[in-house]
Assembly symmetry: C2
Homo-oligomer: 688 residues x 2
């Protein structure tokens, strides 16, 4: 069997690859100019239908007819709700952002990996501290931030079911589980094998597995190794976290990872319908470059040397069987299938994919995988059926590590030329695909083929492009990566905003642009520019709001950490230390431990005086007796880094040592009533 | 001289005070129902002027004519900028939010008291860590959050000048200084005398002083004292921070505080024009209640017992002279004017004010102080001229601590009945005042009197009320607390949103509602509902955008901590360790200290390999060679809690011990180019 050097790929006649990395870099440096809003023709009067007051306002404010139509399509009147909810990763904020569509209003930020005091997330509440601590590792630093990349909504039969949301931390290879009853993070798991990830999270069609893809190669198990030994000691990794829906948690004991060659694995997607059971990840740096200082070229040049990298096709069903059957090695307590086992058992196949791809996206029918190579101008469409046939026929090549390589032409269905810098693809309900073009700063609409070809369109054809401002990374269409996309709306997650908003110093927001994809063909206007100045989100998913069933209050005494799966009876969620009637309140001492049982309700704490001695250990339970939606209380202890958010019905515990003496006025930090300022008490710490 | 028991006040015929606290509490508990959007008549077709496409969209989306007009008044097309910028405190988030008006889009969150990784705020960058550390105190905990309440834009001659923004931390009595060239926090000072504050920050008309008001009484100097000794050992405080504009920093050495009786001092305002040199603060709990557990009533009842509390009128000019002249005692290194000195020197006068007030707001002409008592139904208007005359005439009463008390009727100009729960007042350009009504959930427009009476209106009269959703706290009108308000827009900062937005679990956003105040008289519609789901802002100021002059890039090599005042030459801002050319880059070792000199530019780090030994001390300097707006890079070190934001031209240093061994792939966390994923390097820590 011949060794495939990851350089061959298709013949020049079938595709166009941007030739020289130097040229690409020049393009990158020169990008982001111009002022094309993609939003109307600039003509102040036309046929939209404005006259009278509306026309006067439009004239006074310089609005075009297209602007008025966009305003009418995005305005959500007071008291009405957005039709869709977008969950966007928070990038380096370490959080998740919840945005209403079409209004594009930021409804809430969810504290995930980074402490956030408004939510009382990591500022004393024992249940939140416990979740954050899960994400550290013995002997390592407390990780108080993350780089969240790819949110994944839980699915049932390939459709969002509105129950859970998963999100990865690229910086530290962690995955979080968020419960969409209360929009709170319930779990953080840290990968004990990989030091970083990127291509996650993604879920399988019934959320049996949460996929955490890889990124930069490293010695497995957090070991050290010289870059001189890169090919022997560095490895890639993909991790499959088993989701226990009844428990509402990922189960590390049932999870496993697969060792991969030391390429940089990137985004993944789970197969669905026809391709269910398989997983598709792409890769970059199959060149195995180790950088300029280590004697090579800069990564940005070196990693573009090969004409092709490798699409990784993984047989997850079979891999899970191998893992369950003991075909693993244990690294830091975690099960890992060795690369040679994956090769021997037929769990892993490679297919060449054009040049430094980013997105790997399975079509709604599960029949195709769309790979966008950012240094290649195409959407490259692989056929799952052809891929299976080629595997069945037996690959004729292997990569340098012995992984079987399917010839690109044996699996390729079509290549659709889109433009410069294609990254990520989503889908609608009409058979169109939408791909972000980073270097073109545009969204491309193109037609799928086969049974999915849109009415009246040629298959596998570019239909139109809409300019966006600027440098689009990912995009999200309404339910656009499920088995039944909704169409209607698409959001372009633009990384640069430059001149779009009033400048807030050198650090600018991103620009989320809402694109109207309701009409087919060449009509695809930008409707709205939405700054995101609290983070740099990377990826988002958009769900129909009516699929969500959020709680508006907690059942009395709920400890949110006891919520478990969605079938958990509410009686099982009551906190062990919930104080549900006045008779239970008080302050008790046992040696140096002082226990406070407190109720909170508009607008007082009971008790409202706590006297301790310096050095005492304080265990402070608070239960909200509120039953009204939005009747949230806070509880801050000055000088002590403590701030809780106590939502209606919730019970919370905070535990700390009274190290500082003095008079600390604890108080409610949510403006709960007209007598909110009076909702306070005294925490007196007498000097030792 | 008779002791004034803080209970007399005006005769019953002149004002209406909500009688019983119990009744008020019942009202609070029953608030927040109904569905009046204040936004149009619900009639789907009228005279706004929609036909054709626009009418079709309106019908399909259920928009009324009023909705279409509101949409047209608030929509800001792609590439156009908002006319006003609102700076809102972030409440328990500890940050400041920057919002565009009229679009109500959140343009950016500024990291202030709480570490925020997207901005690299408190995640390794030495300059940001130094600012956060300033806000701790020797021997106390690291305070990693705050309860920011009242932002104050710097002023010149009573008008916003767009240079600096100040904000207080209620929880821990701290004040921060933000530079509006780069929207970054430059300084945090912690008050060494008070443990908490509330009524700050406010500035004097030329920003000579930044006022930090008080809140709950406490032993001064962070001491402990029993509640049994409340009247003798607990005190209130107001602090005047001297602002050194040339240095761009508050100067603690030139600052001072004034000891006050142990009431709960609340919001303040600085006099202007006629009243420049004076400061007006209100108070609650002149009852000196110490709570239920201490043998009294609940605070919410006890603090409403008195019919009046005390407006504090402070002669700041004279107080500064007394402080400069040595009339202070030193507490924890900070100068404090004793209460008796203030009495003896005529620095402090009290005027009864109706029942538990919140806002204290000086009219644009400086002639009146408007006090809104939240358990009283009026805007109570005090005349500065009358107050001065009464002081001149000599007060005839004193409070229990000997502070002279002016009779309410001697200083009162008018009382305007507004409704339930009036809190805070702002002003427009036509002579109208706007007061938030918490219990009514409404904004009241009323007319000023004297020279300021609006054309065609009666003086001191309620004109109209607009319902808001729900429970409005503060409000902000465009430049509405300066000597020259702009009118046009007002934002209602509603504390509860309940049913306004799709619910995000039990914890809901606030609802910032934009109110159109351009037209006078009874027209005052709500235009837009804006969720704020990243915090609970308390107060905001709104500045004309063209008064701001933000930088879009840093001059090459700028260390933002060296920026100082606005006249600082850019050459003086260059970081000591800026690496501005490739020849300077490299890794050097001196004993166990490893120094890295690194440049960052799209899309590589130079050098891209750093090899150290476990236990080494690492000093890592990074300079961005970018000169393009929005060309921001990040730099994350996995496992090490380090994430930097390196804006174009900026130089940053991070310093840490390499405690953990292994291979850490440092990488750029801002999506800077198509080759962003390739912008990485290896930080190798060889085991000891």
């Amino acid at each position: 069997m011949r060794v495939h050097p990851a350089r061959s790929g298709l013949s020049p006649g079938r595709r166009k690859v941007v030739a020289a990395s130097v040229a690409v870099i020049a393009l990158v440096m020169a990008s982001c100019t111009g002022d094309d809003s993609g939003n109307g023709d600039g003509d102040g009067n036309g046929s939209s239908g404005a006259s009278g007051d509306l026309a006067d306002i439009a004239e006074a404010r310089g609005l075009t007819d297209a602007d008025l139509i966009a305003a009418a399509k995005t305005y959500v009147p007071s008291g009405q709700h957005d039709e869709y909810i977008m969950f966007a990763s928070g990038g380096q904020s370490g959080q998740v952002h919840v945005v209403g569509v079409p209004s594009m209003r930021l409804l809430r930020t969810i504290g995930v990996f980074t402490p956030e005091p408004w939510q009382g997330w990591g500022f004393g509440a024992a249940d939140t501290e416990a979740v954050l601590e899960e994400g550290y590792a013995p002997g390592t630093e407390e990780l108080r931030w993350a780089d969240t990349h790819h949110p994944a909504l839980s699915e049932t039969e390939g459709d969002y079911d509105g129950q859970f949301l998963f999100i990865n931390d690229k910086a530290n290879s962690r995955v979080a589980t968020i419960d969409l009853r209360d929009f709170e993070t319930k779990q953080i798991v840290r990968n004990p094998v990989a030091i970083n990830d990127h291509g996650g999270t993604f879920v399988t069609p019934n959320t049996d597995w949460v996929i955490e893809g890889g990124q930069y190669a490293m010695p497995l198990g957090w070991e050290w190794a010289s870059l001189d030994d890169y090919e022997t000691d560095y490895r890639g990794l993909i991790t499959f976290w088993k989701f226990d829906r009844a428990a509402g948690r990922l189960d590390p004991a049932q999870s496993f990872a697969m060792e991969l060659p030391p390429y940089w694995q990137d985004l993944c997607d789970a197969g669905k319908l026809d391709s269910e059971g398989w997983v598709f990840c792409n890769s970059i740096n199959t060149e195995m470059a180790t950088g300029m200082t280590h004697g090579g070229e800069q990564f940005e040049a070196a990693t573009g040397a090969n004409e092709t990298d490798y699409l990784h096709a993984i047989n997850l069903v079979k891999a899970a069987e191998v893992a369950a059957g003991g075909g693993t090695e244990t690294i830091n307590g975690f099960e890992v299938i060795p690369l040679q086992t994956s090769i021997d058992e037929g769990l892993l196949y490679f297919v060449p994919e054009p040049k430094s791809p980013h997105g790997s996206d399975v079509t709604p029918d599960g029949k195709y995988v769309v790979v966008s190579g950012k240094l290649d101008t195409h959407a490259n469409v692989y056929s799952f059926e052809k891929l299976m046939a080629a595997i069945e026929a037996g690959p004729t090549e292997v990569d340098p590590f012995g992984v079987p390589v399917i010839a690109m032409e044996d699996a390729m269905e079509a290549q659709v030329e889109l433009g410069l810098g294609p990254l990520h693809t989503q889908f609608d309900d009409k058979g169109y695909a939408y791909t972000s073009l980073f270097l073109d700063s545009a969204v491309a609409r193109w037609s799928l083929g086969g049974d999915s070809t849109p009415e009246g369109e040629e298959p596998w054809t570019l239909i139109t492009k809409t300019p966006v401002q600027y440098n689009i990374g990912h995009l999200t269409a309404a339910e656009g990566d499920t088995v039944s996309p909704d169409g209607k709306y698409l959001v372009a997650l633009n990384k640069w905003s430059i001149d779009r908003f009033f400048p807030t110093g050198p650090l600018l927001p991103q620009n989320f642009q809402l694109v109207d994809i309701a009409e087919g063909g060449t009509t695809m206007p930008v409707l709205y520019d939405s700054p995101l100045g609290v983070a740099e989100p990377h990826y988002a998913q958009t769900i129909k709001a009516d699929k969500l069933a959020p709680w508006t209050v907690y059942p009395l005494g709920t400890d949110p950490s006891k919520m478990g799966g969605w079938d958990t009876p509410t009686a099982d969620m009551v906190g062990d230390n919930a104080t549900t009637d006045a008779a239970q309140t008080g302050v008790t001492r046992d040696g140096n431990t002082v226990t406070v049982d407190m109720t909170v309700i508009r607008s007082h704490f009971a008790p409202d005086l706590i006297e301790v001695k310096q050095g005492d250990h304080v265990i402070w339970h608070l239960t909200s007796l509120e039953t009204t939606q939005d009747a949230t209380h806070g509880m801050a202890v000055p000088g002590y880094n403590i701030n809780l958010s106590i939502e209606a019905g919730e019970t919370v515990t905070v535990e700390f040592d009274a190290t500082q003496s003095g008079v600390f006025n604890f108080y409610c930090t949510e403006f709960c009533s007209a007598l909110h300022l009076e909702m306070m008490g005294h925490f007196l710490v007498e000097p030792a």
